[in-house]
């Protein structure tokens, strides 16, 4: 069953999941959310990319959390081991665990969103809701520009090598070659941007006022209700957390 999600539904779901995970402050909950995200990624066929991207982000973070809070946690009382100034405390480990799982869950949820959302649909939905088209433009233009830049940098590097630039090891030489590559890249990008701005203005991009969309994105009422419900639930969770942990109140 392939459900065509309205991009706002996916976005609301991701944001609400992340916020509720942050408000819940319980590592079993975070783990559950992370697993749910992975399952959904598998269902959508993007599990490979999501897990790869998440690993690059999350693994160094969790490792350093473990080292930092596992070994140095002055607020901890239950000491498990001690080597000089480093004390392994249960509270520190618990803190690292809570934060690590929370961050992992949030990262997975957002990556799932960004790898499954269809950017043209998102732009169309933004135009329907009268959200400033400039935001959608920046988003889509960046996503188009990034892959092209890698190719461009390669061509520039080849051109510089042809002019006698030899890439040796050594910090100063590497920094020197950077300069040779950066200026043509920046110049080319800014020139292109300049012409593009003129074309966009000519095609009416700078017009204030409403826009229509060529692409049609369906927004069934069931998804609208889901979004509303999710937002209400999230707000309730946030309020509950704020009330429960208000400084000076009971507990923290």
């Amino acid at each position: 069953m392939t459900l065509r999600l309205h991009p706002f539904t996916a976005l609301t779901a991701a944001v609400c999941a992340a916020v509720v995970t942050t408000a819940a402050a319980s590592w079993p909950f975070s783990v559950a959310v992370a697993l749910a995200a992975v399952l959904l990624a598998v269902r959508s066929g993007v599990a490979g990319r999501v897990l790869a991207a998440a690993a690059v982000i999350v693994v160094p973070l969790c490792l350093s959390l473990l080292v930092l809070h596992g070994l140095f946690f002055p607020e901890g009382h239950t000491v498990l081991a001690q080597w000089g100034p480093a004390r392994v405390t249960a509270e520190g480990l618990a803190f690292a665990l809570e934060l690590g799982t929370r961050t992992t869950a949030c990262v997975l949820v957002f990556l799932l969103f960004s790898f499954t959302v269809s950017v043209p649909d998102l732009l169309s939905a933004l135009a329907d809701r009268r959200i400033a088209p400039q935001f959608g433009f920046v988003l889509a233009s960046t996503l188009t520009l990034l892959p092209a830049v890698a190719g461009r940098l390669d061509r520039i590097r080849q051109a510089q090598e042809t002019r006698g630039m030899v890439v040796r090891g050594g910090l100063l030489s590497r920094l020197g070659t950077l300069r040779l590559q950066m200026v043509p890249l920046v110049l080319a990008l800014m020139d292109d941007a300049g012409s593009r701005a003129q074309a966009l203005d000519a095609r009416g991009f700078g017009n204030p006022g409403p826009r229509t969309s060529y692409r049609d994105v369906a927004d069934p009422p069931a998804q609208r209700r889901f979004r509303a419900a999710a937002l209400v639930l999230t707000a309730a969770a946030v309020v509950a957390r704020l009330v429960a942990s208000w400084p000076g109140g009971a507990g923290s």
Binding site: L99, Q134, S141, L171, L189, M190, G194
Partner: protein
């Protein structure tokens, strides 16, 4: 049959006021959130992962960043707007290239600073915030730092306006000060949302301070004060070098550069009548 006019009137003043209010509201949200967090930082974080502070930090800073974007974005001229994707691409590409040289700096704000220098503080702030939002599509951990990135762009624009980019040795100083402010403002996010680390290197510095008994927020603020100013000084220098490497025609097309004489060099004389 009335045709839409071929000309537009000059921009009015009333629209400017509501924009200004939104900008101030955004900045105020960020400042108020910071003060609140410092005053209410949990004395005993052993009792939980600081969810309260995390929610407040995220909510306040992101609200401020969004208000700034709403205020600034619709009035940015198209010629500035098309540069924001370029700035983001530069942030990413230069950050990765510098990372490959092995120096212990992030250097991922060059595009933002360049836009701030060429198009002004408002454009710089919008670029910083938008860069974080768009980059979060690839790395969601960047999103909470949107307010800090906006601050960097804003201060870069202010420095350019004050003429600090006319001399090469002043640009790194401006970067140093910006690094101090941006690092301090971003510290609560690093502390409460991410638990204090963004990598192994910075984690070591924080560990040292924690071993001395500092609270998490204090330790992270001190670490930020150590690494951020140098990083931003380098970023400002590179952005200044790039701005001067561009031809006159490209840089002088920006009204901000012309009006505040941001770049050194003889301003071209008025064309003959």
């Amino acid at each position: 049959m009335s045709q839409p006019a071929l000309t537009v009137p000059a921009p009015g003043q009333a629209a400017g006021r509501s924009r200004r209010l939104l900008e101030i509201a955004g900045a105020a949200a960020i400042a108020a959130t910071y003060v609140f967090l410092v005053l209410t930082q949990p004395a005993d974080i052993a009792n939980g992962p600081a969810s309260f502070s995390a929610l407040v930090a995220l909510g306040g800073f992101l609200l401020g960043a969004v208000l700034l974007i709403i205020a600034v974005l619709p009035v940015l001229p198209t010629s500035t707007l098309v540069l924001i994707p370029v700035a983001l691409v530069l942030n990413v590409v230069l950050g990765q290239l510098m990372g490959s040289t092995g120096l212990p700096f992030y250097i991922d704000a060059i595009g933002t600073v360049l836009i701030g220098v060429l198009a002004g503080p408002a454009a710089g702030a919008a670029t910083g915030a938008l860069s974080s939002i768009v980059w979060s599509f690839f790395n969601p951990t960047v999103l909470p730092f949107a307010a800090g990135a906006a601050l960097i762009g804003f201060l870069a624009g202010l420095a350019a306006r004050g003429g600090l980019f006319r001399r090469f040795y002043l640009a790194p100083i401006a970067g140093f000060v910006t690094g101090i402010l941006a690092g301090v403002v971003s510290a609560p996010i690093a502390a409460f949302v991410f638990g204090g680390t963004s990598g192994l290197g910075t984690g070591a510095i924080v560990s040292a301070f924690r071993a001395m008994g500092d609270t998490l927020l204090a330790a992270i603020t001190k670490q930020a004060l150590i690494s951020d100013p140098m990083d931003k000084a380098i970023v400002f220098t590179i952005a200044a070098l790039l701005a001067y490497a561009l031809p006159r025609r490209t840089t002088y097309q920006f009204p901000f550069v012309r009006r505040f004489r941001v770049l050194a060099g003889k301003a071209p004389s008025a064309p003959d009548a």
